[in-house]
């Protein structure tokens, strides 16, 4: 059934949460997720705190009706701050910088003075009982083919702890995710169709990925607020993939419409998007959460100088980067690969050392893959051995003509087999001397043959360890 979005008074807004690629927001712990055994487990309870008037928030009550026990798994990558046993450290300035970049790329106005707040959370996902969050900017927009979409606000906040196991009277959380910096972007309810919803989500996603954000599953979460004329607002969470969004929007519109057709009204609630694009009930929509200041931290001042500095160094958007790489002489396939594997920074650094884009892209992307396949190891393992420092060293060695470009792959293979980088480039030279000696020996043993005949003998002897080109060079050298 074709939906006439205008006719049904469709209104939707996006809320996007994106993890930033830096250490935690209020401590120096690294933002790494752990899948090994925890160091210890801490047991806590969270009490619903009544507001001044004495009433408890609806959502808070829903979640804290039972007296639940919460367990928190700790690691050597978490500290007392995540455990709510130490006051927060100063706000991570790297995270603030990235947030400002995002705010400026989304054409927002940054607040010069803003207070870090505590948003009451009672489901145990924050050891403190609240989430620290700060309003950074508002009043921006993005362009879509269906017109401008307003960016209402941009917040910087801490991610919650990861639920590992939920039981009726207890929940186990892992502290690894708690405190990872998260940027929240909420659009105005300007989205007018399922197509525009998807387009806006992709556009914002692209802008986010041009800055220092984390990649991979779970690092971005998109929520949608949807209503049609006469219906109650529904919040949908859990989109794993923007592709499902369109279908999910359509389903939700039809669901809300079916209530209206029955002269009923759908309940205002939070629903979870399932992989097939349908949704299921999650919980009631929270009332505006209790917010009060984070008194352990000073008011955040964002100076004009800082904003100007960020403005000057704004990252380029994907299209601009692609254009630049194309000018470097890379083909579309390679550009895609560099961006997809998130290796632009590394590519640029290697480019500084050795201005040969094709060679760099081979060393960075192709060779490790080929070696991994040959050695039957995972690409991660290979990339750990062929670290960025190793690649820098190798490309520098090529630039300084300590090794030949064509030997690079062989050297990399040696390094993977356990030889140190320094040794590996030395060996390569010796190998070549060794090679000359052996070829000379072959020529001496059977004198009088043609170059091509020697070539056959040499290639047989070395079983593909050298290129035909190299062999011919040496043969010609001795035949002269």
């Amino acid at each position: 059934m074709e939906i006439n979005y205008k006719e049904i008074g469709f209104k939707a807004g996006l809320e996007i949460h994106q993890q930033l690629d830096t250490h935690k927001l209020f401590c120096e712990c690294p933002s790494v997720l752990r899948n090994d055994l925890p160091l210890a487990v801490v047991k806590r309870r969270i009490h619903a705190v009544a507001g001044e008037s004495g009433e408890v928030d609806v959502a808070a009550k829903f979640q804290s009706d039972e007296k639940k026990e919460f367990s928190y798994q700790t690691y050597d990558t978490t500290c007392l701050v995540e455990l709510d046993e130490e006051p927060p450290h100063k706000l991570n300035l790297e995270a603030l910088n990235t947030t400002l970049e995002i705010a400026l790329l989304l054409n927002c106005k940054v607040f010069p003075m803003t207070q870090i707040m505590r948003k009451t959370i009672v489901n145990g996902s924050n050891t403190s009982g609240f989430q620290r969050t700060v309003l950074i900017a508002r009043g921006g927009y993005i362009e879509t083919s269906g017109g401008k979409v307003g960016i209402n606000s941009i917040y910087l906040e801490e991610d919650s702890a990861r639920p590992i196991e939920r039981n009726s009277d207890s929940t186990i959380y892992r502290l690894d995710r708690l405190g990872i910096p998260l940027v929240e972007i909420s659009t105005d309810p300007d989205l007018k169709s399922s197509v525009q919803v998807k387009e806006a989500a992709l556009k914002i996603g692209e802008i986010l990925r041009s800055t220092r954000v984390r990649r991979g599953i779970g690092t971005i979460r998109q929520d949608l607020n949807i209503s049609i004329k006469g219906s109650n607002r529904v919040e949908i969470k859990g989109f794993q993939d923007p592709k499902i969004m369109e279908k999910c929007v359509e389903n939700e519109v039809l669901r809300q419409k079916s209530f209206l057709d029955r002269k009923e009204k759908n309940p205002s609630e939070v629903r979870n998007c399932l992989p097939d694009g349908t949704t299921e009930f999650l919980r009631p929509i929270p009332g505006s959460a209790r917010m009060y200041p984070e008194t352990d931290l000073p008011v955040l001042h964002i100076s004009r100088e800082l904003i100007n500095q960020v403005k000057k160094n704004l990252p380029k958007l994907k299209e601009e980067i692609e254009e630049e790489l194309r000018k470097d002489g890379l083909d579309g396939e390679m550009i895609k690969l560099i961006l997809k594997s998130n290796k632009l920074e590394k590519y640029k650094e290697l480019y500084e050392i050795n201005g040969n884009p094709k060679l760099i892209s081979k060393v960075l992307l192709l060779f490790p893959k080929e070696i991994a396949k040959k050695e039957k190891k995972s690409l991660e393992e290979i990339e750990e051995i062929l670290s960025h420092d190793v690649l820098l060293f190798l490309l520098e060695s090529v630039y300084k003509e300590k090794i030949q470009e064509r030997d690079l792959k062989h050297v990399m293979e040696k390094i993977v087999s356990g030889v140190s980088a320094k040794e590996a480039i030395k060996l390569e030279k010796e190998d070549f001397l060794d090679l000359e000696e052996k070829i000379m020996k072959i020529i001496k043993e059977k004198s009088g043959l043609s170059a091509n005949a020697y070539m056959g003998l040499v290639m047989k002897e070395f079983k593909g360890k050298i290129s035909g080109e190299d062999a011919m060079k040496v043969i010609n050298k001795f035949l002269k």
Binding site: V42, K43, R44, R45, I46, H47, A48, V49, A50, E52, G54, S64, L80, L83, D84, E85, E86, P87, F111, P112, M113, T114, Q115, M117, R118, K119, T120, I121, V122, N126, T127, S128, G129, F130, T133, V134, L135, S153, Y155, S288, A289, R290, M291, Y292, P293, T295, P298, V299, H301
Partner: protein, 424 residues
């Protein structure tokens, strides 16, 4: 343009072309104020940059006072509220701190406290951060405590207190309240009550429970570990704040917990003074001219002259190891100066800088040299407890007449401050 008088009111702030609406709040930074926007977030403004503030709506504060539940089936406990995080709450509507001192505010924030006991009386002798307290405050708390303890309707007393110097107060009460008949429980919180994770809930529930027990001692009740499952009842003279921020900041030094206190049961762990029908005697005399000094490498012993000249009567030195200070072999030895000031009448006691363990000046010649000067070695007594005890002992004219008399009293075990049997 009136800012201060409109705190808490809904206003419009005009700044250039922009108009912001929200609740006007004070800011911790001078020259600025905050505005709570409709979405709950606070943003800040420089007073100078604001063109106009228009009041849209005056918010009138309604605080309903009501009586918390009372039941004849529950035991009566009295509370003494003295300040600290456990009794403070930020007022997000108006800014600043509200003290929780009335039964209804207590009930609103700690409803579980009232499930177990009746809070029969609440006394508020003063409201202070513990770092602002001194012996005069201990005397006030002790006086109020003794009155409550001698009230037959009250089963025990719970005292809420800031954490920083809490162990000084617990020591002082241990000495000041003689002939103790009922539990005196001191408790605290390290996380403010406005957060769902506050440690105050468990600490208070366990404290109220301990106050109805048969343990007639001055004890500190608080988190045993970082977990929210049980508290330790810790002897008042053997406890010390050992962490700046953790829930289980207080640790027992050179002793054992009296009991494990759960919200629903008490597991006794060591011997204690049983609840009885004695009348508590208030004995809170205190000599103000007492000091606590930590000895460090290369320290000039002339610091002792300062205390003597200032009229100090006694000093507790935190000595190194088994009880050492720089001796005659040091570049700046203390032996001569120690002999000199003690001859003039200054009482010098020694407590372990190592915190854990007992002093023994006989093991090394350096210790024997210092012992000969007349220092009173206080065995395994905590330096903080030693300071409080010395002030208390010297406050008694009948005891402060001679060095030997003082030494006798300092080494007499009044409130478990000395443990003759240290176990690991």
């Amino acid at each position: 343009m009136e800012i201060e008088s409109n705190f808490g009111n809904l206003v419009e702030v005009e700044m250039g072309k922009e108009i912001y609406e929200g609740i006007l709040l004070p800011s911790p930074d001078s020259g600025t104020f905050l505005l709570k926007l409709e979405n709950g977030y606070n943003i800040g403004f420089n007073k100078k940059e604001v063109l106009k503030i228009k009041v849209i709506k005056k918010i009138n504060e309604k605080t309903k006072e009501f009586s918390p539940p009372f039941s004849k089936d529950k035991k009566n406990v009295a509370m003494i509220i003295t300040g600290g995080t456990i009794a403070a709450r930020l007022n997000p509507e108006k800014g600043g701190v509200d003290w929780l001192t009335t039964p209804s505010t207590l009930f609103r924030f700690y409803p579980e406290l009232f499930e177990k006991v009746n809070i029969k009386k609440i006394e508020v002798p003063f409201m202070k951060a513990s770092e602002d307290m001194d012996y005069k405050d201990w005397q006030k708390i002790a006086k109020v405590s003794s009155q409550l303890l001698n009230d037959p309707e009250i089963e025990g007393v719970v005292i809420t207190h800031g954490t920083d110097f809490l162990h000084y107060t617990s020591s002082a009460l241990s000495f000041f309240l003689r002939n103790l008949n009922k539990p005196v429980v001191l408790t605290y919180s390290q996380r403010s009550v406005d957060r769902g994770s506050s440690d105050a809930n468990l600490n208070l529930v366990c404290s109220a429970f301990a106050a109805t027990s048969d343990i007639a001692q001055v004890m500190l009740v608080g988190h045993a570990t970082t977990n929210d499952d049980f508290c330790f009842a810790m002897p008042g003279t053997k406890v010390r704040k050992m962490h700046s921020s953790k829930r289980d900041a207080f640790k027992i030094v050179n002793s054992l917990p009296i009991a494990k206190v759960f919200p629903e049961k008490i597991e006794k762990l060591s011997e204690y003074n049983l609840r009885n029908k004695n009348k508590v005697i208030l004995d809170s005399k205190f000599e103000e001219k007492v000091a606590l000094v930590k000895v460090y490498p290369g320290q000039n012993p002339n610091i002792l002259d300062y205390y003597y000249k200032e009229g100090y009567k006694g000093i507790v030195l935190e000595l190194s190891g088994l009880g050492h200070a720089p001796t005659e072999r040091a570049r700046m030895g203390w032996t001569k100066k120690l002999t000199e000031v003690q001859k003039k009448g200054l009482i010098v006691c020694a407590a372990p800088q190592t915190i854990y363990g007992r002093l023994d000046p006989l093991v090394y010649s350096n210790g024997r040299e210092l012992l000969e000067t007349g220092i009173i070695y206080l065995e395994d007594m905590l330096a903080e407890t030693a300071y409080v005890k010395l002030g208390w002992v010297l406050g008694h004219k009948e005891w402060s007449t001679s060095r030997d008399k003082v030494a006798d009293k300092m080494l007499e075990n009044f409130a478990g401050e000395i443990n003759k049997r240290l176990v690991d």
